[in-house]
Subunit: 116 residues, 2 copies
């Protein structure tokens, strides 16, 4: 059994034209022997956003804390602590932080997709 | 894309000799078209606990809020908001709430295992 505070996992930051203020961590992945799916934790700073994109694999997301919006079929929908999202493969999506603090969410992907 | 507050998902309560004060909800499952893994959210009331058991499938767990302990190779280890756990298939485990409020965690399983 692996027990880890996600904040102790190695972090990777993402900042550029299409992504702003995002930190990603692999909490549970293939290096842990997780052969079916991978748990990442993302922190989006205030005014930050993830890329607007789509890919063949699905996401299962749980909003841990903070406030934000998700792009869903062209509209921005509110998300907050306790929101769960299923994003099927091939569907365009983007997250942005609209709160004063960090937006923190768990995002799981099937094995075989890039872990981070 | 499915967007749901987990508290709006149907709940099932578990109380008996081996489990106490546990409420489970399927946030994302096969009915949503999630073909690889399933997201459940569990709430354990103060003094409550999950069954001590093992099974062939793995768990990926994220502690959303509250304080508790996990049984890990015979010892009780602290868990709290932000703790991530990987429990490989076949490993005995149990969670208990040791705090004053609810212990709330996300628990993911591969498809094919019982969703709740």
């Amino acid at each position: 059994m692996k027990v880890i505070d996600y904040r102790d996992a190695a972090e990777q930051t993402f900042d550029g034209e299409t992504v702003k203020g995002v930190t990603g961590r692999i909490a549970i992945g293939k290096d842990d022997g997780a052969g079916n799916f991978c748990m990442r934790v993302f922190t989006v700073a205030p005014d930050g956003f993830t890329p607007k994109h789509s890919h063949e694999w699905e996401h299962e997301v749980f909003i841990h804390s903070g406030k934000g919006k998700v792009l869903r079929k062209g509209d921005w929908q509110d998300i907050t602590s306790g929101t769960a999202l299923f994003i099927p493969g091939g569907e365009e999506h983007q997250f942005k932080n609209t709160g004063d603090g960090d937006l923190i969410f768990i995002c799981l992907i099937p094995s075989g997709a890039p872990e981070l």
